[in-house]
Amino acid sequence: MAETTNGDAFVAFERVQKSYDGETLVVKDLNLAMPKGEFLTMLGPSGSGKTTCLMMLAGFETATHGEIKLAGKPINNIPPHKRGIGMVFQNYALFPHMTVAENLAFPLEVRGMGKSAREEKIKNALDMVQMGSFGGRRPAQLSGGQQQRIALARALVFEPELVLMDEPLGALDKQLRETLQFEITNLAHELGITVVYVTHDQTEALTMSDRVAVFDDGRIQQLAAPDVLYEAPENSFVAQFIGENNTFEGTVKEIRGETCIVELDGGEVIDAKPVNVGGVGERTKVSIRPERVEYNKDRLQEGAHTLKAEVLEFIYMGDIFRTRLRVAGRDDFVIKTRNAPDQVRLEPGSQIEIGWLPEDCRALDA
């Protein structure tokens, strides 16, 4: 949100609300501004309102309240077919009664483009997704990955400036998904198109996007670049949802500038960075990434608080070691260490002390 002001945003949601039944808000007060050429992903659990937002942008649903702007103009009253937005659906939505080439010709035909110009564009679009020789096939004769490539080509063939994709890779196997993720990002950047991409897969979101909007409960919980999102989650939902995190609940005891002291429910005291806490005496959820936990006392700061831990399980995972500990009454505390020659392998049953840098442990909303 910081990079663009709403004035020159290419796509903008302003105070958008959506209710299907007049009782519950599926989208609550959505504000979003995207610059041209950005690849933005909407990430969130199922039912969080991602598709609804996409459909409002495409024009298939109307916003109950608020305004959606495209290139500075409100589009609330423009019908979908005049918005010129390309769309890729999860189930591909290729027209089964048309060949691949006819599918691609469709958007060009309805725009009144001549036959030769059409053929040229179709050929280019098919080559772009490496499906040049499949023009004569019917969708039913293609595999899922091939169909999605065609769907992509169809959404791009009429050169839209904005393309929406709703979980386009959801139905594909992992390997294919990774290849296509890579190809889609490359294409988007090559063509300079603006993309709004919906997924519930965080890896996909983090690897593909310029920025990720984390959705929950009809709101954007955080909108930031992938690294910011991972390293500096602004609330406990984002911290939980992105990557792996250890959390404790407790009460803020003291705030001193960039650090604070939190007393856990079991009486232990730890250091944390106050990110999203009200003030002294408030409840908080602290979260710490498994790879930021330190059990080598020498590396900890002078005077840092530590916690006693018992090693429960040691898992060798090749590139990393994953160790499960019992800490402060919880036995799901995980630490990850890199597999290096000097790395200690913790024996189950041994007692250790763990700690961390205050800035790695974020005190968030309860």
Binding site: P79, P80, F95, P96, V110, R111, R154
Partner: protein
């Protein structure tokens, strides 16, 4: 189940066995030493047999209720053995006669006909034959009925002459002894005492056969007729025609030989011959012309000859407003042509009904497929509601609604749309049939359409619109083509049902709105011309198959879906 799983454990599975057999040179042997191929064949045969037994009840049911009636209908539409069965001698005699000669047939033909008709008249077959031939040439029915009565006279004078010579010579028992073997005569007499079951079958004696072969033939027919009627040759008087033939044979016989043959009841055959020669018997032809002078009409004989073969295309010709006249195939009189018009009307109205079902059903099916489930369910009940009401009630309701003094006309007049004097004629014509049948057949269009539309993913429409298509283009280029299989299935269903519909056109169709099926029903239940009904039915069947084939060629039958 148990033996199948046992197979799987102990022996090779069928396909590995085949693969093994292909790999090796010699025949593979099963565990018990028999060649694997035959063991396999046996196992598969058993499977097939079991499968066949499972569907056997259905197969039997279909054979009895579907295949057999259709086969019977096909057979009846060409079958025509009534002429050759009832008039066997006439048919043979007519071989030498040509209709084109324009002449009345020869005495021989009349002679043969007299014998056939006399027997048929006793068996009451002649009226049936008369009705059959009446389909082809009107007037034959009454001609046959009348002549059936008159033919009794032929032979009467000869009979009287014999009676005069010897009173007993025309009595049944005398003739039984004269014509039959002694054993048979005895058996008949014994049977006559208690009359249990049917009388014994007639067995002619050799002397009679040698001397009077034709008389024996006719007597035999008489004896059989009596026997079938649960009577016997012992108490029924022989038919006059027997005496007619007997008299002819007497006249032709060598008098010297006659003296040696004992006649019935000891009748002196030489004297009988003389007595009969003294009678002034008219020719059989004259006798028939006396009964009815229509027998001089070559038309009548031509009809008999034209329909004398056991199979005929006559019913089919009639179904196409053609007639097989003695002179060849000709169109029937203008005022009697109805079938072509009816077939054409059946087709046109059925197509119109199918068309209006598509027009009315498509939007409803679309609503059903796209509304929220709860609303759609209510709508579905409304669609199915007519199915729960009797067809007769629904059709009669239309009668009430559509009458000139009916509800619809009343409303139109009340609204000032039509004048009171010019109320619309909505019933007892084609309009009535179209309206009522569209209503009745509509669910058969909606249901397949609905089930196909239900499978069309809503994202197709969204995709089309996102690609720049207007609502109409998206519908026409994307949604509609995907719903065509439903239209196809619904149309076939509605059209085939409509083409054979009968109750509704009968009630609301008047004369201008009835279908070919109404005519078929008429021939089955009123005119009893089952052959024509069968021919019409067969043509209807052929028409449906033809249209089905055309549809397959144009649209493709795999393009018909009744659901996902």
């Amino acid at each position: 189940m148990t033996d199948a799983s046992a197979d799987r454990v102990t022996g090779p599975t069928p396909d590995t066995a085949i693969r093994d057999a292909e790999r090796q040179d010699g025949p593979m042997l099963a565990a018990d030493g028999t060649p694997l191929k035959s063991a396999l064949g046996k196992a598969l045969r058993r499977q097939k047999l079991r499968a066949l037994m499972l569907i056997a009840p259905l197969l039997l049911f279909i054979m009895v209720t579907f295949i057999a009636p259709i086969a019977d209908m096909l057979f009846r539409s060409v079958e025509n053995d009534i002429v050759s069965q009832t008039l066997p001698r006439t048919v043979v005699a007519l071989d030498d006669w040509e209709y084109d000669s324009g002449e009345v047939p020869s005495e021989e033909v009349f002679e043969a006909f007299a014998r056939d008709l006399a027997i048929a008249a006793e068996r009451k077959d002649h009226t049936r034959l008369g009705s059959r031939l009446n389909y082809e040439t009107t007037g034959i029915s009454s001609l046959f009925r009348q002549s059936g009565r008159g033919v009794d006279e032929i032979g009467e004078p000869q009979m009287d002459a014999l009676e005069e010579l010897n009173e007993d010579s025309i009595e049944p028992f005398a003739w039984a002894a004269f014509m039959g073997t002694e054993d048979w005569a005895a058996e008949v007499e014994a049977w006559d005492a208690d009359q249990q079951g049917l009388a014994p079958v007639f067995r002619p004696n050799n002397e009679a056969v040698a001397a009077f072969p034709e008389t024996v033939q006719l007597y035999s027919a008489y004896a059989e007729t009596a026997r079938i009627a649960e009577d016997s040759a012992w108490d029924e008087d022989p038919f006059p025609i027997v005496f007619h033939v007997f008299a002819q044979e007497l006249a032709e016989a060598d008098p010297a030989r006659l003296a040696d043959i004992p006649g019935p009841a000891g009748l002196d055959l030489v004297a009988a011959r003389e007595a009969i020669a003294a009678l002034d018997i008219p020719s059989t032809r004259d006798a028939f012309l006396e009964i009815d002078e229509d027998w001089a009409d070559p038309e009548v004989w031509g009809t008999i000859k034209a329909f004398s073969s056991p199979y005929t295309a006559g019913y089919y010709l009639a179904a196409m407003d053609l007639a097989k006249t003695p002179a060849g195939v000709e169109p029937v009189d203008e005022d009697q042509r109805i079938y072509r018009t009816l077939f054409l009307r059946t087709m046109v109205l059925s197509l119109t009904i199918t068309g209006s079902c598509i027009l009315l059903g498509y939007p409803i099916a679309w609503l059903l497929a796209n509304l929220p489930l709860r609303t759609a369910n209510v709508l579905m009940i409304l669609v199915l509601l007519p199915f729960w009401t009797s067809l007769l009630v629904r059709t009669s309701a239309w009668k009430v609604l559509l009458q000139q003094q009916g509800v619809i006309n009343d409303i139109l007049v009340w609204a000032g749309l039509v004048g009171d004097g010019s109320r619309l004629v909505l019933i007892n014509n084609a309009t009535g049939t179209i309206i009522a049948m569209t209503h009745i057949l509509l669910p058969f269009m909606i249901l397949p359409l609905y089930s196909v539309m239900k499978t069309i993913d809503p994202s197709y429409l969204r995709a089309a619109k996102s690609l720049g298509a207007t609502n109409w283009t998206a519908f026409w280029r994307v949604y509609f083509p995907n719903s065509v299989p439903g239209i196809g299935a619904g149309s076939i269903l509605v059209f085939i049902l409509a083409i054979g519909y009968y109750i509704t056109p009968e009630i609301v169709g008047g004369t201008k709105g009835v279908f070919i099926s109404n005519r078929i029903a008429y021939h089955i239940s009123s005119s009893l011309n089952w052959g024509l009904a069968a021919a019409l039915g067969t043509m209807l069947l052929a028409l449906v198959l033809l249209l089905y084939w055309l549809y397959d060629r144009m649209v493709g039958i795999d393009n018909v879906k009744l659901g996902g």
